[in-house]
Amino acid sequence: MFESFDALFLARAQFAFTVSFHFIFPAFSIGLASYLMVLEGLWLKTGKGVYANLYRYWLKIFAIVFGMGVVSGIVLSYQFGTNWSVFSDKAGPIIGPLMAYEVLTAFFLEAGFLGVMLFGINKVGPRLHFAATCAVAVGTLISAFWILSANSWMQTPTGHEIAANGQFVPGPSWWAIVFNPSFPYRLVHTVIAAFLTTAFVVGAVGAWHLLRDRTNPGARKMFSMAMWMAALVAPVQIFAGDMHGLNTLEHQPAKVMAMEGHYQSHPNGAPLILLGIPNSARQRVDYAVEIPKASSLILKHDLNAPLAGLDTVPQDEHPPVGVVFWAFRIMVGLGFAMLGIGLWSLAARARRKLYDWRWLHRAALVMGPSGFVAVIAGWVTTEVGRQPWTIYGQLRTAQSVAPLDAPAVATSLLAFILVYFAVFGAGAVYILRLMGKPPEPHEDAVPTHGPVRTAGITPAPAIEGGRP
């Protein structure tokens, strides 16, 4: 008995580790692919060399990020089977096709055109090369579509039937499965999060180089573009997040109770707990700093609306409150900090001081990793918040696990941790090294690192409109 509990815990730890690590890469590469598409498009349209130079600059970083995303993603497509075989058997007829569509419509598209994007400019010419960049960028978004549909179905399962053998099988309409109730909100919220993550990385790199040389044209351009994203998209994200939260309240109320720290029901208006220490043993939040009735205002748009608490949910269906409570606050806090940077940059821009305000640059630099922290915190909120279920309300996590021996999972968990930190740590160092170099007017060489015969006769590098 203890042994099986152990294997379950280890399997969860392993999956949480590998999936969290993996998501860092797509969170960046989804946004970066689109950014590269914009840069190359602007270069083709305007012929300005600064766009070509920025394209080259970020393409090198993209190549590393994308490679790490691919190899850490392959792991996941097999871990459903190795660690969650019962879930795979039961939900395979629904989750399997969604993931198969992801592979067929997205992974091949990205991988097939990545080679041309990285190595092919001198072989196919700028327009076809731009098409390849677009294919990769669109591929990352299609990938997000399918995988978030699959995840959302697990959060808000609809459109299925239960077969005699216990499997979840599709009902008459796949539409109801793909477009399950939480999917549109999760898709929008996640894709915007990826864009913001990238914007803050780009902004931090721009800021770093502005702090050293505020005349560097590449640094100015990337900083300006990133700050537009922060100013325009951060408020949209806060709005989208609020909508997503209301959707969660409707379909997974226990998750929202954990996010809010509402152990008890509040018949006449629930307080918004800003900070505090959730105490699940005593079913209360210690040292709570709260705004009376504000939670009801946000969630129900009515100061006195009653809000149910975890006391209305059976004890064995409670999610772990502390983790969800804190992860949610980290995400929201960072979201507002992003908004703050965006507004600050607008003020600087209005006074034509965008490239001069050192404290803005310093703040943007500090906020560089904020997107990664926020998306991981967001995923922790939603994934821990839906516990103890893998398929919400239908299949428990404890019933989803593979019949594994604890030592096998423990050994492989250890191997994953060692390998990931070593390999992806090295990758992070290489990325930081590339970011540490200023965007020169001419990035070295063409971005083609493939079998290119023309290398060495790179077009005169500093000329505006030189090929990327």
Partner: protein, 336 residues
């Protein structure tokens, strides 16, 4: 009578075959990597697969994802049964995948990433071969789940299939280099291919013999009347193709067709896969679970068939285009 389940078995088999055809040679280059001289030769060998390896590996994801989608029960039983080799394969692929970029980004540690590239390729290949062997020798099934322990896959037979695949992928890698390179590197690849080809033929023979004694069903298929009439042709075909491949490798240096050895090596793989199919049909887990027992419901099969029917030809088209863009001999210049 062809039904959706048979079609899906065919699609999964196609994905696995496509994976072996495409990723086999780039894993093979990883396996042979330490044999190439540091510098231009290693760089050229790597450049010959760098633009395509990522697409190649995607077929592995389709194989895994497709198996879960079309035969969820098989996916749920096989992966826990092969836990250790699968995890080893995944970690091996991590090392070799990142090495493509890392070795250029960090010249100071290039040796280290070269070792990662080779080691990762060897581990991934061994694990794939062991997986095949473990499936063939049979796995313990209890109800709808795997019922054995976590070392059940480890037998002399599965080690034999592991090593055989290592030889096979290495041959594919050598033949790919014969096609895509010239000069001393090509000459070296020819030498390797000449050593690997006989080794592979011996390995195919050993695995075939050993397989036929694993299960009564296999033995019956291959040695009893009237099946033997058809199956007896298989060793003959393998021998003929092997002979042709040997001659083609020799002819390349006198201006023979440089792509011929690669295609004949692929043909050997093709024959081996046909042989496998003869042995295990119509099971997805040999001797335990048939494709119909493991199949997803019809609604899942139809939904995916629409997608696969449209997308697989499109994927093959643009994959073909990407290979076309990078056609011709490769050299080491212009990288990063």
């Amino acid at each position: 009578m062809i039904d959706l389940t048979i079609i899906w078995a065919g699609i999964i088999a196609f994905a696995v075959a496509a994976y072996v055809v495409m990723d086999g040679f780039d894993l093979g280059i990883g396996i042979l990597f330490p044999r190439f001289r540091v510098g231009p030769e290693r760089n050229t060998a790597m450049n010959s697969v760098a633009p395509v390896w990522d697409g190649n590996e995607t077929w592995l994801v389709l194989g895994g994802g497709g198996l879960m989608a079309a035969f969820p029960l098989a996916y749920a039983i096989v992966l826990p049964a092969l836990y250790a080799p699968i995890v080893a394969m995944l970690l091996g692929l991590v090392f070799r995948g990142v090495a493509f970029e890392f070795r250029w980004r960090d010249p100071g540690h290039r040796r280290l990433w070269d070792i990662a590239f080779c080691g990762g390729s060897v581990v991934a290949t061994l694990a794939q071969g062991i997986t095949l062997g473990a499936l063939l020798q049979g796995i313990t099934v209890k109800g709808r789940a795997y019922g054995g322990g976590w070392w059940e896959w480890l037998t002399p037979f599965s080690l034999l299939t592991g090593v055989s695949l290592l030889i096979g992928y290495a041959l594919l890698g050598a033949c790919w280099l014969i096609w895509k390179t010239q000069g001393p590197l090509q000459a070296q690849a020819r030498g390797m291919a000449k050593a690997l080809l006989p080794a592979l033929l011996v390995a195919i023979g050993l695995v075939s013999l050993a397989t036929s004694f694993l299960e009564a069903q296999y033995h019956q298929r291959w040695f009893e009347w009237p099946g033997v009439l058809a199956t007896a042709q298989m060793p003959l075909l393998v021998a003929i193709i092997g002979f042709l491949a040997w001659r083609a490798i020799g002819k390349v240096q006198n201006g023979g067709r440089d792509w011929m050895p690669f295609f004949l090596a692929l043909l050997l793989f093709g024959l081996s896969m046909v042989g496998l199919a003869i042995s295990i049909w119509p099971d997805v887990i040999p001797g335990r679970v048939s494709i119909w027992e493991a199949a997803a419901p019809e609604r899942s099969q139809i939904f995916m068939l629409v997608g696969a029917g449209i997308m697989v030809p499109v994927i093959l088209a643009y994959t073909g285009w990407a290979y076309w863009v990078f056609r011709g001999k490769v050299d080491e210049a212009g990288y990063h």
